[in-house]
Structure formats: C-alpha cells, structure tokens
C-alpha cells in the first residue's frame, strides 16, 4: 500500500500559501483554456445548426460566400424552371432568389459601428427557413421599407428595436418585428422584402438562390447539372454543408486557443514545479524517515506526484468553476459575442457554453499540468540519499 492521500492533502493544506498561488495560477490557465474552447464551439454550433439538409443554396461559380456572389436575373430564370424543384400546395416552385447586403450600424453603448447582414428574402425563402420564427411585432410587408431583425442583433445595435430604424444605403428601414433564429447563423441577420431591397440598393442581380428539390435524387441531379453547365456559371450545395463550411471563422479561436494554451500551460507547469520543489526541500528529512520505515523510491515518487496533481486539480476545479459561472451568467443575461466573418466583414454573433465535456477536458488538462510539473521534483525526492536526508533540518 502506498502513502495515504490524506498525508498529501494535509501537506497541501499546511502549505496553503504556496498552494493557493499555484491553485490560482492553474485555475486561471484552465479557465482561459476552457473558455477559448467554449468560444470556438459556440461559433461552430452557430454555423453548424443552420439550414435544412434538404435545401440547396445556389451561388455564382467561384463564390465562397453568399455575400460575394452575384446571380443575374437570366440565371435565375433558367434555374427557376428546373423541374427537379419541389412545388408547394399552391403549385408554386419552392425557390427563393435573395439579396444579401452588408450594412453598417452603430453598436449600442456608443462602441462604434459594426457590419451586419441584411437579407432580402421572399415568402418562399421564409418557408424554407422554418428555424426562423417571429417573436415580437410582425413581419415586413412587401413594398414597404420595413425590416425584421434578430433578437441577438436587437440587443447589440442601436435602433434595432420595434419602432427603431436601420440605415440601409441612402434609405432608412423601419424595424417592425423581432425574430429568433434558434442559435443559427440567421441570428446574425436582419430580413426585409427581396424586391424592396433590390430597389433600395438599385441592384439588378440577386446574391443567391435557395431552393428545395423534390427529393434527394433530385437534389443530386441539380447539383450535378449546375456543375456540368459551364455556361450557366452557378454552383449548388446543400444548405447545411454551406453553413458548416463557414465554420472557418472558428479557426482563429482554435489557433489562438492553441498558442495561448501551450504558452500558459508551460507557465502553469513551472508554477506547479516550483511549488513541488519547495515542498520536497521542506520535507527532505520526512522523505528520509519514510524511506527508513521501508517506503520505496517509487512510492515516494507516486506520493509527490499525487500531491502535485492534487494541487493542480484543485486549480482545475476552481478554473472550471470560474468558466462555468461565467457561462451561466452570460446565458442568463443573454450576452452575445461578435466575431468578424472575414468574407463579409459582418459580425457573427454567438454565445459560448461550457458543457460537461469541456469541464472534463479542463480537469484533465489540470491533471496533466500537475503530473508534468511534479515529475522532476518527485524524482528528486526519491533520489535523496537516505542518510543525508535524515541529517537535514
């Protein structure tokens, strides 16, 4: 049997000053680590849960994003009559030609301006996106300069409340409703009538076309047909696939998380190592005594590594607690974070959520810090010559 854990635990408590510093250091590192992961995940889940797998989004060949795409009226007319497209109960083709514009609006609280996406959408387009539901006010009326904004944007931009205005090009749009996109990318958009949008911005073309094929075979057929039709110059892909590719915006967070994670864990490892070296130095005679009593070198190593891990794990628990508390607070207050989409330069809004698996990951991370940080001090303790150790004060 090895040395009892309570021995380590009490030593940790007795040396509470150094313990506290290490615990707080590790806690900070683990909290940042968990939060960065939660942010990356928040962005991914926003893009990931957008769209309907049955829908196909059509953009110009060579365009990566809707906002940089142009679909001419001729192109749309050709596309519109594809007989693979489903029809609704009124016999209309379920296809929506839309205009996506970037507008700039003042942030609430005077924090400058930021870009946001304004989508000119048709009745079919709204049917194709049942995720988006009106929660306040009413929908815009065709032929009116009216706009409905997402609840997230409403909290973020000045004038984005019912009765407020949104400046679009030379015109002002009246906000008549608030919608909820249920965590999808549409939560970062404002919607208005497509024809009205084209007239305000004086655009002949559309940006993209969203359509519903009759079935999955028809979907494949449309994608293939567009790909092979070089003259038409359009590209189609599943709507969900399109949005999951937009997940690229999480990459900077992942990279930042990686770099920060490595740099900070090196710091945390050194903090843990320092504490454990001090602990070993202060307990040299104790180690000698334990060895005399018959405890092996490996049980001394284990004991000190346990102790280092215990300290780091306490830090991990505190750090995860902090991250969790922040996450709960942010959810409760409905605070959103914006990240710039590098293609449209519009903000994507998201929340982070610290899930149980992220907490688990954070705890594992802290255990790793503890194990690595205490390895060398533990080895030093185990290699102390017994008699010399006994003579130390």
């Amino acid at each position: 049997m090895a040395l009892p854990l309570r021995y380590n635990f009490r030593n940790v408590v007795v040396r509470w000053r150094t313990t506290l510093f290490t615990v707080l250091g590790v806690a900070a590192v683990v909290a940042v680590f968990v939060l960065l992961r939660a942010l990356a995940r928040g962005i991914e889940s926003t893009s990931g849960n957008t769209g309907d797998p049955r829908n196909i989004l059509v953009v110009r060949k060579g365009s990566q994003a809707e906002s940089g795409s142009l679909v001419t009226r001729t192109q749309f007319r050709t596309l519109q009559y594809f007989d693979e497209i489903a029809r609704n109960e009124r016999g209309e083709a379920v296809v929506s030609a839309e205009l996506v514009m970037i507008v700039s609006a003042p942030r609430r609280g005077g924090a400058g301006e930021a870009n946001t996406l304004l989508r000119g959408v048709t009745p079919r387009g709204m049917e194709l996106r049942p995720q988006v539901t009106l929660v306040e006010g009413r929908w815009f009326q065709p032929g009116h300069r009216e706009v409905v904004v997402s609840r997230r944007l409403s909290g973020r931009f000045e004038g984005f409340e019912i009765g407020g205005t949104l400046k679009a090009g030379p015109d002002h749009l009246k906000v008549v409703g608030i919608f909820d996109g249920q965590g999808s990318a549409f939560d970062s958009e404002a919607w208005m009538d497509a024809d009205e949008a084209r007239s305000i911005f004086d655009r002949e073309q559309y940006s993209s076309v969203l359509l519903r094929p009759r079935d999955s075979a028809a979907a494949q057929a449309i994608i293939l047909r567009l790909e092979q039709d070089k003259r038409l110059g359009l590209r189609g892909e599943s709507e969900t696939l399109y949005y999951s590719k937009q997940t690229m915006t999480a990459a900077p967070f992942r990279i930042l998380g990686g770099i920060l994670g490595v740099a900070m864990s090196v710091g945390a490892v050194f903090a843990a190592m320092n504490t454990m070296y001090a602990s070993v130095a202060a307990r040299t005679r104790e180690v000698g005594t334990l060895r005399v009593l018959g405890f092996s070198q490996s049980s001394v190593v284990m004991s000190f590594m346990m102790e280092g891990t215990l300290v780091a794990l306490m830090g991990g628990i505190v750090g995860c607690g902090l991250a969790l508390a922040l996450s709960v607070y942010v959810q409760a207050r409905g605070v959103y974070f914006g990240t710039m989409d590098f293609q449209s330069f519009a903000e994507t809004l998201f929340q982070f959520r610290v899930t149980p698996d992220l907490v688990g990951l954070g705890l594992l991370f802290s255990i790793g810090i503890g194990l690595v940080g205490s390895l060398l001090p533990a080895l030093r303790a185990s290699r102390l010559p017994v008699i010399a150790a006994l003579k130390s004060v």
């Binding site: 060895r291 005399v292 009593l293 092996s296 006994l390």
Partner: protein, 230 residues
Amino acid sequence: MEAPIVVIRDLSKIYRQGEVQVTALNRVSLQISAGEFVVLMGPSGSGKSTLLHIIAGIDRASSGEVRVQGINVANLDESQLADWRNQNVGFVFQSFNLIPVLTAHENVELPLLLTALGRRERRQQVDLALNLVGLGDRGHHRPDQMSGGQQQRVAIARALVTDPALIVADEPTGNLDARSAHDVLGILQSLSRDAGKTVLMVTHDPKAAVFGTRELHLEKGELARDLVQE
C-alpha cells in the same frame, strides 16, 4: 547464551571525499545476542551512528560482513532492503522524525501500511503500541500538540508496531529533559527485558548507559571496550 542476532566481521566504512579518506569504522567485529540492550558510546565522530546505520540496513559497509538474523544485508538490493527494514528493524531518532501533518495514530500506522494487514488489524496493532508507551489516549493528537517526551514515545510506538526483532535508537534522549529521558529509557529497557527485543542504542549520556545490559565503546572507528553489565 542466546543465538546471536547480529554478527559483524571485519566491518569497515571508509568515506572518500576527493583525495581525503575518512575511516569511520575500522575492522569492527562484534556479536549481539537476541534480547540484549546494547548501549553504544564514544566520542563524537567515533563512528557510532555509522555502525548503527549499517546494522539497520540504511547504509552499506565498505568491506566486511554484516549478518542480521542470518541474512547478509549486503546481498539485498535497495527495494529488498526497504522491505527488510520495514519487517525487521524499528528506528528511533534523536529528533523524533514524526510526520508533522499526521496524528500520533497515523504516524504509528505508517510502517503497517506496507504490510498486508487490514484496517481493523492495523488499528489494533497501533492501539497496542500506543498503550505500551503510555499514550493510548493521545492517538488523535498531532506531534505539535505533544511534548518532546511524548513525541519520542510515539516514535518508539512506531518503531515497535511491526513487531521487529531489532530496535535501533540514535541518541533517543538527546533532545529530552531528564524526566522524559528516564521514561523513554525505561520503555526501551522493558522492550528488551520483557518483550525480548534486541535494542541497540547510541548515547552520550553515562546515566543512560545503566539501562542497558551491555556497553560498547567506539574510538576512532574501532571497538575500544565491551562491558557486559550485571
């Protein structure tokens, strides 16, 4: 006479520090019988601690042979030696060497954690040992809540809890007042006389020597005198 429990032949210990050689023990030969209470005396630097450490298996000889209960300890590797110490030798140090964060009970229990004993048996053994040194009611106290004499008695309980044949003590009364020293010596004496343990004790105190059954004097690493007391 009982069969010898410790047999030492031509034992030497030489420390080398660069060019300088220190002969801590010089060809010491000696036998100790089971149940003896041997008091080891001699001037500072005469090699008393060194001899004690080698017999107890925490140091190794430079040459010569040491057998304890017929076992040549030089043939054991580090981990075998650790097990051997745990089962056969109890240690008492001048400065008690209790683990400060553990209670008296937990300190005494430490050597038993390396045995196959279950929790209940360990508890019984620890209570027995603490009662033997008169501290049955102090089990839950930490070392800093006890006097030096009490701490040393806890250390003796820890030394005898595994029921080892040999108990070694290096100046166990060196840090104690006269009264506590007397108690400690009395306990060691009864361990040898009543429990049949072999006790090997280093001391500078001639008054402590009278508790033993035999007095060994070391001088400059050599055995100078060997007196068996009446």
